[in-house]
Symmetry: C2
Subunit: 329 residues, 2 copies
């Protein structure tokens, strides 16, 4: 049994998602959606280089695509915010088609957009569709994995997740996005303007709290620059000593007795990259993914792997903690 | 909303399970079942020491209990084999009541008892009940956790799980159960008679293969004694040099291109106890739970935590990979 898949958003991540999907025996790719006039009307083979999709076209909207094809799942990789995602998702859901999205806020849209989340959930239930936000981070290493590890605990007092990413090994745009080369004050100003930092960190924390039924208060969030201790040169960028070379983004919350701390460092020449989950409880758990999980390659995997998994769950706006345990598809 | 829980089996693990359940705000304990005439007719407070259960009694069978109480979930901790579990489970399922069981073979009963598994699944669906086999091992560290970690992989070639348990820190009966003090030949004879080794290891492997849809062939299983390199003394036992001090149980299978290897060492004075999952794939993942997860304390947690989780899944004979991600309850 194949799953008919369409791709919404044919930027670099969308193309990577489609390339991975094309390697899976259970996937049938039926088309793509993008707003870029250069792409509309071309075949997916032309856009992605995947052979065999010469008759599978890029459409200007989901409704256009739906006139020709009947996808079961749309992989959605176009935006980070719930507000911009919603108008893109509504026509898909109204057609009874399910969505796996890389939209970071969709991991737990109830946090910042509770009314829009309710509206989307109602729409999903009405039309028999599922919508899931997922990825590696947010989506796995700083949330789902931590929740999963508590499953063998009698009680839990504190959950701490440390993710350290060596940005030197990542793509050029990411090296810039984390503020490399900025003056520390410029970096801090950008964070205040919500133009710097990791979108999804507070959603990860809220998802953990929701899954464990912890009534946490306000999430305290800080984002400080990592500072280059010496001149740094990568394939894409040069950073002088004392300038920014990455982010240190942290979110914390407590319900008075229990607490969650998420700490993300993503910077050039980071040492000991890892994903570590420390659970203080009975028993305590000290889990380390040595070397960490590579963001770009793995996020695409999380999206594709979730397509069969959401079809195993009932209709609705789904959370990673609502659906069966993740697994490679 | 409380969940009404009854305990089937009031041995040491059953009592521990009930004690943990009693600490949870969402649990209402309604009664117990045991075949021991010394326990039948007594109150759960008398048997377990838990206050407030003076009116909650131990019955000789589930049917007796059901005349007085209406549990929603039965925690079942009495046997390791599907064949002996089934007659105990049938009356519960026929009453439409769900079960979380520590029965090791129930983790994946389709492996050794496919017909009985089918029969139980049909019965569950007919009566709207769920049955789940779980625990720490089998149930989490050598199966569910490994499946979960593949969720961020584009592809997987090999899954290796190493569990090293320091039996010196475990209860006395376990130190004996792993063959401590036996001659190596006695140990090997007991393994051939299926009286030695870890029940559930092959089920863990089969569950991983099932979740990933890998068509593996025969599971190769070996169980060798760990040999004391010097005189060992614990609180419970003494072992002379060159005698057995634990087990080294290993299961392997392949589908020709992909493979799964589970390696369990449980022995006295084990060094570097840990649960390690190595996934060879894209990306590869190297996860280590340093210190490991304590079997006795955590198994009880896995049982209690699964009670709300199975109620989120549809009726049937459930696998850990069918239900939402585990989490502390």
């Amino acid at each position: 049994m194949k799953i008919k898949i369409a791709q919404f958003g044919l930027g670099p991540i969308g193309i990577e998602t489609l390339k991975l999907a094309a390697t899976k025996s259970w996937v049938e790719i039926v088309g793509g959606v993008d707003i870029d006039p250069q792409k509309i009307g071309k075949s997916l083979s032309e856009i992605t280089g995947i052979p065999g999709l010469e008759n599978k076209m890029v459409y200007a909207s989901f409704d256009e695509l739906a006139k020709h094809e009947k996808p079961e799942v749309v992989l959605h990789t176009s935006v980070s915010r719930m507000k911009t995602a919603l108008p893109q998702l509504e026509p898909i859901v109204k057609a009874g088609v399910s969505v796996v999205s890389s939209c970071e806020e969709l991991l737990f849209p109830q946090l910042k957009q509770p009314e829009l989340a309710k509206q989307l959930d109602d729409l999903c239930k009405k039309h028999g569709a599922r919508v899931l936000g997922t990825g590696v981070n947010p989506g796995f290493v700083m949330d789902t994995l931590a929740v999963c590890l508590t499953g063998v605990c009698r009680s839990v007092e504190k959950i701490e997740v440390d993710r350290v990413v060596n940005a030197s090994l990542r793509r050029g745009p990411l090296q810039k996005k984390i503020g490399s080369g900025l003056q520390p004050d410029e970096f801090r100003q950008l964070f205040r303007e919500e133009k710097m930092g990791h979108v999804g960190l507070v959603e990860s924390l809220a998802l953990i709290a929701h899954a464990l039924n912890w009534k946490i208060g306000k999430i305290n969030e800080t984002c400080e620059p990592m500072i280059a201790k010496k001149f740094i040169q990568t394939e894409y960028i040069e950073v002088k000593e004392s300038l920014c070379c990455g982010i240190h983004h942290r979110a914390e919350a407590t319900d008075g007795t229990k607490s969650i701390v998420l700490d993300l460092k993503m910077y050039l020449e980071a040492e000991d990259p890892r994903d570590a989950v420390r659970i203080t409880g009975d028993p305590s758990i000290n889990a380390v993914l040595h070397g960490g999980v590579h963001g770009d390659r793995a996020t695409v995997a999380a999206l594709v792997n979730s397509a069969p998994n959401i079809l195993r769950a009932p209709a609705g706006l789904l959370l990673m903690t609502d659906i069966p345990v993740p697994r490679v598809g």
